[in-house]
């Protein structure tokens, strides 16, 4: 009679995980690249790209997240599964009564441990370069836990490929799937927004390669702004001198990482302006040449949302938004966006200026544009969304 008997899931898991963990120090060649590559790129990215990052970006903090994405996405030990398949060891394990889920998760346990170690090392590198956690050890631990969870999620994919193909080349190429998450989403192509693409390319280029001249120093901008044919220039000037946080730093800001860049006392939404001078120039040209307004979006690196609106439509909606805030806001000066949308629908739903009859998107895009122009702003994390006049720092 066989001595074998079924074990519980935890026992099965710890049995396999024990083997996986034992193998880590025995395969240093599999770990070193995962450690060196993120630290290398962290240092290189800061050294080469920090100067051309949009002003206000806490680039070191942002790069911490990028480096950790590199680390946890490159650490998978799924090739050990390929080795086990090729040597016949996986079959040997599969003919035992061990649970399949425990077998897989046990193998992946070593990946999670490696991710924690690598993420910690990358953060330590960040500490050395001046990054810190305002939330202290709790923030640090949360950050590492998120990295571990990401590592576990990521490594499932190469493990799947390993089990499906048994091919090391296929496993090694799986990290390409996750390449897009290693750059800010604003830098990814948006096929339906060619204007944005062009603006983004321009913004991503080093200053000396940009087609337009570099922005003027702050003390010379006053005269430049006065030449704009827009009444918005004063407001633009006002918000131009505020400290702000650009969207590309969102990931790190959510984890409350702080770097050397000061943040405004007033907490603002990421859609708050200003936008680059190039956007204002494009807007001026569109108004002069076509009678249309370039719609701004501060979350885009170039500041343009990629499309234009008829100037009459734009001005009608803009004036309505101002009117609603000024005349119908609550005591705190804020008003629900939906209230504004409803009023716009009532007022212009049958108006010849809006032949399609639906105002929702006109209001929403104009509102986003006005935020970027520092005329109004949304209240961060308000739900339903509320808006107010631009608040001075």
């Amino acid at each position: 009679m066989s001595l074998a008997e079924p074990s519980g899931f935890v026992r099965d898991f710890t049995t396999v995980a024990g083997r996986a963990l034992r193998s880590i120090p025995r395969e240093p060649e599999a770990i070193m690249p995962s450690l060196i590559i993120p630290i290398f790129w962290y240092v290189i990215n800061i050294g080469t790209l920090q100067d051309i990052a949009p002003s206000g970006v806490d680039f070191k903090s942002f790069q911490i997240a990028t480096a950790i994405i590199f680390a946890v996405s490159g650490v998978s030990r799924a090739n050990t599964v390929v080795t086990d398949i090729q040597s016949g060891y996986l079959d040997k394990m599969l003919v035992t009564p061990i649970r399949r889920a425990a077998l897989l998760l046990g193998m992946m346990a070593a990946d999670v441990v490696l991710v924690v170690v690598l993420a910690t090392l990358v953060v330590v590198m960040g500490f050395i370069l001046g990054v810190g956690f305002t939330t202290g050890i709790a923030g640090f631990l949360t950050f590492i836990a998120i990295a571990a969870a990401w590592g576990l999620a990521f490594t499932g994919f190469p493990y799947f490929v390993a089990l499906k193909t048994g091919n090391p080349a296929a496993v090694n190429s799986t990290f390409l799937i996750f390449f897009p998450v290693r750059v800010p989403h604003q830098h990814l192509p948006a096929p339906r927004r060619p204007v944005v693409l062009a603006a983004e390319r321009c913004a991503l280029q080093p200053r000396h390669l940009r087609p337009r001249r570099a922005p003027l120093p702050a003390n010379q901008r006053m005269g430049r702004h006065r030449t704009r044919p827009s009444s918005d220039r004063d407001r633009h000037l006002r918000c131009d001198h505020l400290h702000y946080v650009l969207p590309s730093a969102r990931a790190t800001r959510r984890h409350r990482l702080t770097g050397s860049t000061p943040v405004a006392d007033i907490e603002r939404d990421e859609h708050a302006g200003p936008v680059p001078d190039s956007a204002w120039d494009a807007d001026a040209e569109a108004r002069a040449d076509k009678g249309r307004v370039e719609i701004f979006n501060a979350t885009r690196p170039g500041g343009l949302d990629g499309w234009t609106m008829d100037q009459d439509q734009y001005e009608a909606v803009r004036e309505l938004i101002f009117e609603m805030i000024d005349d119908h806001a609550d005591d705190d000066g804020t008003i629900r966006l939906q209230t504004v949308v409803d009023e716009a629908q009532d007022r212009y739903g049958n108006h010849e200026l809006f032949p399609k009859g639906r105002l929702t998107n006109y209001v929403r895009y104009t509102k986003t544009d006005m935020e970027a122009r520092c005329e109004i702003e949304r209240i961060p994390r308000s739900s339903p969304q509320r808006i107010t006049r631009w608040r001075d720092a």
């Binding site: 066989s2 074998a4 083997r19 193998s23 040597s87």
Partner: protein
Amino acid sequence: MTTTGAITTRSLARAFGEHRAVDGIDLDIAPGEIYGFLGPNGAGKSTTVRMLCTLLAPTEGTATVAGHDVATHPHDVRLRIGVALQEAGLSARQTGRETMELQAKMYGLRGDTLTRRIDEVVDFVGIGDAIDDMVATYSGGMKRRLDLATALVHEPEIVFLDEPTTGLDPDSRQRVWHEVRRLNTELGVTIFLTTQYLEEADQLADRIGIITKGRLAIEGTPDDLKRRVGADTVTIDLPDHAPDDVDHINQLDHVENTTVDGDQITITTTSSTAVITTILSRLANQNRQAASFAVRGPSLDDVFLEVTGNRLGTTPTASGEDS
């Protein structure tokens, strides 16, 4: 589904696309039996083993191992079998002991039982102190023995050995044979043995099945199979024999064929005893003597040739290559 046989299959088949690797096999293997599964490369041996070990689902037919259906109750089957597959499935970056412990734990062994069984099995297969060395340092024979040890650590009722001596030198092969015999005689384990080596099957198996092109072509004890296909061969070295001698031999009962090569007369007969007795008697009456004579019974190679149309005839050389 529970049966009394150790392994029972009915119309067991496995197709890979259009190709039917195993095409309707019926097996009835009794508990405590050593069953040799012979066949050339690509005949379907390993596919059959993988189905019986629950690594591969049958596409048709049924199979029960230790009384449990491999398709519907694979977990119950896995608790009762030990498997040493064609490749010695071992992780090179573990020690032999770590490998044994991991395998024992995967079969649910713990504590004193685990320690005792590892010691027993390591002693059984003769690994010795090398059990604490890294597997990467093991020779091919050592790896085979460790692989066998991992298959036995939980005292399985049935052991599947898929070409266990392929690539081993003659000494290592003899050791594995010895261990397989002990396993069967001392522990009463049922053994399903696939092999390409006729000598191995002849030495170890109680019964043999020959598979070709996915089908079981013939099955029986080694002696039965030999008897079914072949006559004995009698070779007489008779100097200065005359044509009359050959004519006389050809007229004897049970003689099927006679060939002459110099002094040597080779006779194919279904009754070697009767033929030899008659020939020696005639020579004695004539005051003559044969320089030598030899009798060879039919071999499994003859059986294999008869069944598959090809001669397997392979025994491993010292280098481990097929001869």
